[in-house]
Symmetry: D2
Subunit: 407 residues, 4 copies
Amino acid sequence: MVSETIELRGHIIDSLILPKVLDQILTHGANFKIVEIDIGKKRADQSFARIEVSAETGEALDELILRLRQQGAEVVERANAQLATAPADGVFPRDFYVTTNQQTFVRFDGKEIEVLPAMVNSAIAFDRKHGTARAVKFFDVNKGDAIVVGHQGIRVVPVQRATTHTDLFQFINTTVDADEPKSAIIRGIGDELRRARAAGGKIAIVAGPAIVRTGAGRHLVRLIEARYIDRLFAGNLFAAYDVERALFGTSLGMNPDLAFARGGHENHLRAINTIREVGGISAAVHQKILTGGILHACVRHQVDIVLTGGIRDEGPIPGVTTDVIEAQKVMRTKLADVTHVIMLAALQHSLAVAGMLATDVKTVCVDIDPPAVGRAIEHQPLQSIGLVTDVEPFLRELADCVASRRD
Amino acid sequence: MVSETIELRGHIIDSLILPKVLDQILTHGANFKIVEIDIGKKRADQSFARIEVSAETGEALDELILRLRQQGAEVVERANAQLATAPADGVFPRDFYVTTNQQTFVRFDGKEIEVLPAMVNSAIAFDRKHGTARAVKFFDVNKGDAIVVGHQGIRVVPVQRATTHTDLFQFINTTVDADEPKSAIIRGIGDELRRARAAGGKIAIVAGPAIVRTGAGRHLVRLIEARYIDRLFAGNLFAAYDVERALFGTSLGMNPDLAFARGGHENHLRAINTIREVGGISAAVHQKILTGGILHACVRHQVDIVLTGGIRDEGPIPGVTTDVIEAQKVMRTKLADVTHVIMLAALQHSLAVAGMLATDVKTVCVDIDPPAVGRAIEHQPLQSIGLVTDVEPFLRELADCVASRRD
Amino acid sequence: MVSETIELRGHIIDSLILPKVLDQILTHGANFKIVEIDIGKKRADQSFARIEVSAETGEALDELILRLRQQGAEVVERANAQLATAPADGVFPRDFYVTTNQQTFVRFDGKEIEVLPAMVNSAIAFDRKHGTARAVKFFDVNKGDAIVVGHQGIRVVPVQRATTHTDLFQFINTTVDADEPKSAIIRGIGDELRRARAAGGKIAIVAGPAIVRTGAGRHLVRLIEARYIDRLFAGNLFAAYDVERALFGTSLGMNPDLAFARGGHENHLRAINTIREVGGISAAVHQKILTGGILHACVRHQVDIVLTGGIRDEGPIPGVTTDVIEAQKVMRTKLADVTHVIMLAALQHSLAVAGMLATDVKTVCVDIDPPAVGRAIEHQPLQSIGLVTDVEPFLRELADCVASRRD
Amino acid sequence: MVSETIELRGHIIDSLILPKVLDQILTHGANFKIVEIDIGKKRADQSFARIEVSAETGEALDELILRLRQQGAEVVERANAQLATAPADGVFPRDFYVTTNQQTFVRFDGKEIEVLPAMVNSAIAFDRKHGTARAVKFFDVNKGDAIVVGHQGIRVVPVQRATTHTDLFQFINTTVDADEPKSAIIRGIGDELRRARAAGGKIAIVAGPAIVRTGAGRHLVRLIEARYIDRLFAGNLFAAYDVERALFGTSLGMNPDLAFARGGHENHLRAINTIREVGGISAAVHQKILTGGILHACVRHQVDIVLTGGIRDEGPIPGVTTDVIEAQKVMRTKLADVTHVIMLAALQHSLAVAGMLATDVKTVCVDIDPPAVGRAIEHQPLQSIGLVTDVEPFLRELADCVASRRD
């Protein structure tokens, strides 16, 4: 039987940190003894707990402690983080520490350094010269880089529930099902976006083709015109749909006004061909070939368009990053200063974007498929709202709501 | 090798009758020879085909001919239907003929008699005295009744596509998915309902609890007030939700204006208790205890309310038919003169209702679950529209659309 | 600002009771101060907390305290429960207390009396003569009965996590998704059933038609023959499918061995007619008309069959309780001593059964639809396992696993 | 009113070609007159129809004729196809003809030339020198290439139902739902694969991560060892899962034998790092670092591995094609001689692969999500089987079935 002592600080009760830690200990077949506990008497007070954890083997204890650290537990005797050298470009040393998307600190020479950015599934590279710690992906690492290994000297700050009651996202913090009312929540999201815009926040949309197909594009255009959108992330397919709709009035050959004429896929390819001919979305707007639609509104209102490719793409439309690793780099850069993300009927893109966000970015996901909503928001606990609904009425109501309070 | 000759008449090409018949023959491992075919030259012309069908055994041929009859095939030599006596109350003779919901005729003494009503999964009782044929359920049959057995002397008239192009239902005739545009179709449904009302049609709603929970009740009330609804079919749960909302402003204890306070189930039971105390929905309206909601609107505007029970019910609310066989009888009576059925987020009830309709009743089904929509409309080929969407925006748009054309 | 002091006892940390209570307080916009806290130092130790709760108004505080009681909170000054008289048969007094399915005590004359049975959505009737408290449904109450009103003097014992690690149900305590491994869990369920049988537990099956259609019936029969099943709950439709399969080898006319011949609905009705003719399932078995299938195995091995009706039923098969309120009474009686429930592809029945269980009945739900699984198990926290999978491979593996360890 | 005469040939009745053509005409608001019709008298006979189609405007007629050609209609007066020059690399001339995946012929100088390969969403490039016609994607076209424009001189051969009854795929030709029996169909698929292997067919697997997570990998390995698989198409994620399972015994950190320890994502990244360090899957097998799993079996048994990237990838694992356009080229090459494709729980990849297949490739799709199955097989009418089920029991039964008949 080996044991180690850990400490927890913060809103460890109502943010469920202490219960989760005790749960992890029990689930791993280990044992605990609470050595000291001091629970905040009022809402805003911090709490503290010191817990002795014991397990059968040192290996099991190590594995368990690693999990507990990701819940915010600190090991009491403070050690420095350990480093090893990357054996080749694009390869980490074995036993490299794998980050979460929570705020993380590493200890070197007795000082704690924050790892930036807060990014999941990365290693931590330590720059001895500048004393900085970076979260790095495989493509970021070069032979000889100093990479943190093991889990000593690392402290994770778990997401904690705010102590005030004004935050819609923490309040809802779950998925609103198809048979639950959504109007009040959509109004709340509208208010949040207004506050965000006023406070200089950056709002990103992740846009799926259903926006175009369901005729919801005009509502998204209203949001763009009212300057509620700063970035738009989408795939080649979304772009092609939007252009087809703008040029031919159809979606996959279907006429949305009559909604009756199904079939026909030529317009889709002709739309792509048109943009290829002119050289890109922006050129098509400036040459007045593309005179409507969502991308047109983006170009006119200086919304950054980030288009990435997938193996089902036709074309591609010029401007789409077709190499997926390159695309990830671009997305990461364009997401760095984003404060709010609205993910609309775009599961693959939403999962990709969600995996790049720090835990303090607020996210909204709208999709008609309940599991899609659940997966898209699971990485942003206490910061996300999921709505199981059609994207068209959602955007219509959000745009109405924002328009009616235009200031 | 045995063979029999069948004939097909009507719009057998574009209503897919001939192809389906040939498909059935091939699928059953049988063979066919087209003896004579005369295809209508213009859209409105009827077509005719005489086909010799051959199979390995007489039994296989019989089985196949039975299927082909359900597609509208007639066997050439015209025989009278055969009868046997019901051995006991509620029991059919073995080998009783099982009806579809298509128009059906039986031949007795060389004359064809229409079986009424057109109702699926019934036997056919022949009344020698009056020369009439009735579709009967188990509970309808008494010992000694004359019941049609075998499949001789029976002719089924399959659903045929209209030759004009004005019918939205035949035109769509499928499910509109979540990512397809719905506005034009909803407008089309609005037009159809206006025409139906003007022509003296009867419109029934099958209503699920999600209508109340999502806050769509007020839009349904608008349709009721504009006299677009003649009957309302629902379960005890729907009624309890509607009353809870009217009395307490909540759904399962959730406040729809704020949408934030989850939990609480007392109001649900208190709502039921209130109606039990006063004796029924109608009494509650007249005593001004129930002053809002969908059922209130129904009572005020003489909409027939048909409430039926299920094994998950609390209560029940007085007026709910708790015996399911009794409930079926009531539903069947109340559906007899209905021309249009709108099924809203109520799968079990929708399937029950759909199973009682003749093939010429037009149906619309709205649900967020694609398989639910598919199952609800499969029995009304060429007469149904399915929409995969939230019920709230559907009802809002339909009520807007009907209101804007108030005449 | 008004305030009240509550107390919590038990495994309030790792069973999430304390965090949920604090969460409720914050969510209701109220405030708390932890007056005293004593957290168990070891796994098996109980914890204790005394918390002062304050809210804006007395009404808001009352509403909040009601919620907290359902989480197990006790109000410190101990008051007797209050009673009022039922105004009519089947009607509760206004403001009646609504039960959860957790263990509940009411205080009269300073003594605590357990409310039996533990049943959700009921009122509490107090029998002054015998000093007993019963959970009663609407149909149980008679004019003049003494019914508990308000929420004073009521103590709820929340479900607590076991302190040992041997319980599969507490360990899993969630839904296993389609893309997660299930073999180990199915083996674990097999072990649990063996232990349950050895310990004299009662195991109930809630059976849906898909068991028959997918050909999984033979595996359920193996479980019945091995005496693992004590009760079977199903609908008329399940019974009709099972009989059709036994008599004709088909399901809705589809031949399972070839699986190719679709269509045909006569056999379904003929199966029902056969049982109606002979008078019931049991008679059909004894007269050797029904010689195979699940119900046949039930009759042969003394498994209680509880069949209930729904508005979509054909028939019904004799023995089906068609009045839904009567059916609920029968189900409740037959569930009273059940310790384990396995719910297989039968959403409506599973929800009905789940709503009648005390919190200590262990449940397993298997369905291919993730939301169906989630809803069926949500009322048995820490006591249920959900599996998103096909019912056929589940039953095959469970029967294999039980058979291989036959003792 | 303008009109044109079209002709249809082949099994135009039972392959639904004639009905679909008449349906298209009516749906487009046009009119028809059947000038001549000659329906094959026996099963194997071809039929013929000559139909005069008339529409309001020349434009509407053109649009309609284009649709009818895709159903196999030929315009009577035979014209040569028209050509235009590609204006730039990667750009087609406006009004380029867009292919379907059906067999297509173009007429030049009075001769019909088959367009190869049969590939959807392409243009047709004509090589004057060699007299050949190629289906080309955007990346295939160079400035100055001769591309077919308009729709004159093009003949499409629609998929026709076989006249014999031996083909499982044509027989089923639909999706088998979760509640339908699958054993007989899985056995039929096993037989088909045996015949395919014996006849020198090429069998491809499209593999999703759920195969690894559910523990179905060992059954796929059995199929590989029995030489039933020639190509494996998958994403980086599948490869990472397979390697993680082989190296660490976990999936996303979950231990499949116990199935209880959730959480943990380090192993996933360590698995990728290990393969990056050694340089690739093949090197890892040869250096005995990777000694189990699906990819190991592929390397050992010369199964082609085609790995492609997506924007959610970590890594990537060396050998993954990260540029999606490059990946499409590789996939297309590797699919060129494939005769059977089995798509297992891999929606995105399955849709990508399905979009590259000619109509005569037989496909099986297995997924637990009904819409996913539907979308994956919709492009292979009369050649595909969809199964809504768990992938683990499917693969287990298929491998058992193939093993038991080892020859």
